[in-house]
């Protein structure tokens, strides 16, 4: 269990308030969190050697959006689980993100803090089972 909690989680979200909120929620459960505010920053963090177990990825962002990030990142060459932040009216983008290797999606307007943590623990347990 302690080993699971040492996992790195990367949040890619351009809105500062939301990024901080997600960070506080996830850190409260004992995970280590990194924040990026666009796809380019996320790639930089990964290039510097960070190996996040989970990436929470917003789709609409300035500089480099979520889709452009996924094209560069190539999820199938990494073992990160990519969770896309989605909205009711972003069906096309979610379809596109899944085609580019995203694994899950969360409806931003619906997921309350505890649901966010439940998604993380589901992924962590799944990873533990596979390993």
């Amino acid at each position: 269990m302690t080993q699971e909690k040492n996992l790195n989680i990367l949040i890619v979200e351009d809105d500062e308030d939301l990024n901080r909120a997600y960070r506080m929620i996830i850190e409260s459960a004992g995970y280590h969190v990194m924040s990026a505010y666009d796809g380019k920053q996320a790639l930089d963090i990964i290039d510097k050697g960070a190996n996040p177990a989970i990436i929470f990825l917003d789709l609409r962002m300035p500089v480099m959006d979520g889709i452009a990030f996924l094209k560069e990142y190539k999820a199938d060459e990494h073992d990160s689980t990519v969770v896309v932040f989605s909205n009711y009216d972003a069906q096309d983008e979610v379809d596109q993100a899944f085609a580019l290797g995203a694994h899950h999606y969360v409806l931003k307007a619906r997921a309350a803090p505890k649901e966010l943590l439940r998604i993380i623990s589901d992924i962590v347990h799944q990873k533990a089972r596979v390993a």
Binding site: D17, A21, N87, Y88, D89, D92, A109, P113, K114
Partner: protein, 341 residues
Amino acid sequence: MDKHGYIQTWNKGAQKTKGYAADEIIGKHFSTFYPEVDKRAGKPEWELKEADRHGRVEDEGWRVRKDGTTFWANVIITALYDTTGQLVGFAKVTRDQTQRKEYEDELRRMNDSKDEFISLASHQLRTPATGVKQYLGMIIEGFVGEVPAAQREILTRAYESNERQLRIINDLLKVAQIDAGKLRLHRYDIDLNELVADVAEEQRPVAKTRGHVLTFHPNKRPAHALVDVDAFRMALENIIDNAGKYSVAGENSITLTADDKEVRIAIADNGVGIEQADVPRLFQKFVRIDNPLSTKVGGTGLGLYWAKRIVDMHDGRIEHRPNQPNGSIFVISLPISTQKK
């Protein structure tokens, strides 16, 4: 005009609209008034043929004045016959509709920019509202320590208000998306008995808090249709929620029936009902029908509009009928699927 389209008589009105004096135009062919592209396509001749065949033809399009400028015209050509039924010529009335067309175009542009504005504003509002949800959620869910009951109650109310705001924003965005033609359905062959039972089950707790019993009467046999489960589910939820909001207490029922052509889902309530005169406006965007409960019950006037658009995209229909002795029945009909599995 004679029967070949050569102009025989001319009047003041025609002179004012098109700029020709009588002696300049009598004897000329009426195709003179058409733009080159229409002439090449044979439109003037085609219109005469149509007028002869049906007695009359009406058209709207660009026409050319003497000075080369164009105007948007409404044109009616009526065939004239002699006593033996022989075609002798045509009467043609042209009205300048340029101003009306300009108004219509302007109205369309304004409507488009209104839709664009709503969509933009909603996008901008959604992110901060999501932030409020997360921060209040953290406090209520005890992330930063125990919250005294009195404070928790107030925070929960703030959270619920914000949830309502998020729902409205999302409704606006969903409608903007469908109006822009950006919603694509992923339709699969499913048994609607199962989907409707599922939705009814989910809606039952909400119905209970309103003092309703929500019952579901399935079809005896499976009733398959090609359905986008997420979209159709939300459309159904909108109708059921609507029925629940506008009725006081008692039973609201969902009945599924099918024949060899259609699956029909009837959602019946015993609520305030809808005046016959209001029915045509029921499915229009932003329309909320005045009734004794409408001020008490929140709504954006988007739920039924969106539901209708979704049902239309499923090649289905949605209709309203009065329930006896009071209330409404909404009937959704979808073409039955005969795909063999």
